[in-house]
Symmetry: C2
Subunit: 127 residues, 2 copies
DNA sequence: TATTTAAGGTTACAGATGTAAACTAAAGCA
DNA sequence: TGCTTTAGTTTACATCTGTAACCTTAAATA
């Protein structure tokens, strides 16, 4: 069975960059991620840890190593979503959605999007 | 401004028990939570940490202390949900819901609930 | 060619977390 | 009243996470 890969919050930002830009060099990663206020060393540590977790890998065919993801964003999202719902909503998807719909802190845009989505899905249901 | 309270995964289980059963003694907590395979010590540590995080408090009017939550489950859920969506779905509620609806790993019951909910909300929207 | 820069590797270190033992004092039971 | 149980406190210890310095070597540049 597949080993659990746990990606920490900071590591997630690195993954996002790699998901959008597979096969980048460390220089590119650094350039992008130093915006988070991280030092050079910090970024290298995060990348190294992701390699050791087998979340990303190194392609060293060229002179400079290039990094690429081994797991897809979608896969990770599903996994995170599942464990989140289990932990916080006792596994109940509908409780989460109800809660979301009731969250008055949603921005107008979010509420609009959510309602549009719900409406659209409701209609599809009727077919 | 309110200090950030971070409740870990294990601690969350203790909180859930206290949310359902406010004002319980340590004995009751132990009885309930030892089902998770935790030793007596572990449970006491978790409770102590929650007290020091000010997530729960002690009522010591009676001979035996009773513990009760200082923060509501709803408040915690909203906070967790927000940070989850920010981290994993780049802040997009609708991306989360879309993803949920597309998750083929939902149980039949979940799908049913979700669709029912969506339908219900879609109808309410039309009013 | 001497100096600066960057890549890759090694080491560090504090705080959070999971998990628990050990100690002390009180309380209940034999 | 001595023994057992338990509550509350203190201490422990490995792993994960956030954050980074240092070292060595190769490459780029003055």
């Amino acid at each position: 069975m597949k080993k659990e890969i746990n990606i920490s919050e900071s590591e997630w930002l690195v993954m996002e960059y790699l998901w959008s830009n597979p096969l980048v060099t460390i220089t590119e990663i650094r350039k992008e991620l130093s915006a988070n206020g991280w030092s050079d060393s910090t970024i290298k540590t995060l990348v190294r840890r992701l390699v050791s977790k087998k979340a990303i890998a190194i392609n060293n065919e060229a002179a400079t190593f290039r990094y690429y993801p081994l797991i897809s964003q979608n896969e990770c999202r599903l996994k995170e979503t599942r464990s989140f719902i289990n932990r916080v909503y006792d596994g109940s998807v509908s409780m989460l959605v109800t809660n979301l719909a009731a969250d008055s802190n949603l921005t107008d845009k979010e509420t609009e999007e959510l309602l549009a989505l719900i409406e659209k899905m409701g209609k599809e249901q009727e077919k």
